[in-house]
């Protein structure tokens, strides 16, 4: 069975400093991996996705993530945090079995950005 583990439930950074949100995955197949962001009272929005092409994936708003098969990781990074980045972030794996497109979400990491 596929699963994702987000290693930090809460991350706090100062504005202008780097962001690192950690995610490990478990999959019997070559996975498709995603990062979604959820701002308060707003719908989930796709930040970026990895689908077996380039291992370094660039997303919206300056975020990027690197797929490391040897470490089964897909950490999300951003060089410089902005106040508007404060939100809940979810690492997600797509269940390839049966090709239903089912998404399996991690528990989420709350990113706090301090001025």
């Amino acid at each position: 069975a596929q699963s994702v583990t987000q290693l930090d439930s809460h991350v706090s950074v100062s504005e202008g400093t780097p962001v690192l949100l950690r995610c490990n995955y478990s999959s019997s197949y070559s996975p498709s991996l995603f990062w979604y962001v959820q701002h308060p009272n707003k719908g989930l929005q796709l930040l970026l996705k990895y689908t077996s092409a380039a291992t370094l994936v660039k997303g919206i708003n300056g975020f990027e993530a690197e797929f490391k098969k040897s470490e089964t990781s897909f950490h999300l990074t951003k060089p410089s945090a902005h106040m508007s980045d404060a939100a809940e972030y979810f690492c997600v794996v797509s269940e390839l079995k049966s090709n239903t497109g089912k998404l399996i979400f991690g528990q989420g990491t709350t990113l706090q950005v301090k001025p």
Binding site: S32, G43, L44, K49, S94, G101, K102, L103, G108
Partner: protein, 116 residues
């Protein structure tokens, strides 16, 4: 392009009552998903439709939850009777097709249900 619409945005009911949520997906999207997001957790898929047919309802508590997508457009999710543990945000999402590597799922704002 209009996004995924959901209503109501908030609902408070007592346990054992019934409740229904409505979702209008993005026009032309064949695949529709209902997720349950309990506080402090990631969303969990309840049911997935492809047009008006069910693709996956393996995690839907069928003794109390039901969903339909008549005509392959709008969808309704119902809970009857509600339990305290059903308190959660119910998210609707839609996509052009069910291949999640090729077609992004677009999420609505959700309905926050509180069962007292």
């Amino acid at each position: 392009e209009a996004g995924v619409a959901q209503s109501p945005r908030y609902k408070i009911i007592e346990k054992r009552q019934s409740v229904a949520f409505w979702c209008n997906p993005i026009s032309g999207h064949a695949t529709l998903y209902w997720y349950q997001q309990i506080l402090g957790q990631g969303p969990k898929l309840l049911i997935q439709f492809q047009n008006n047919g069910v693709v996956d309802d393996s995690q839907l508590p069928k003794d109390r939850f039901s969903a339909e997508r008549l005509k392959g457009v709008d969808s309704t999710l119902k809970i009857q009777p509600a339990k305290l543990e059903d308190s959660a945000v119910y998210l609707c999402a839609s996509s052009l097709a069910r291949d999640s590597t090729s077609y992004e799922q677009y999420f609505g704002p959700g309905t926050r249900l509180t069962v007292t």
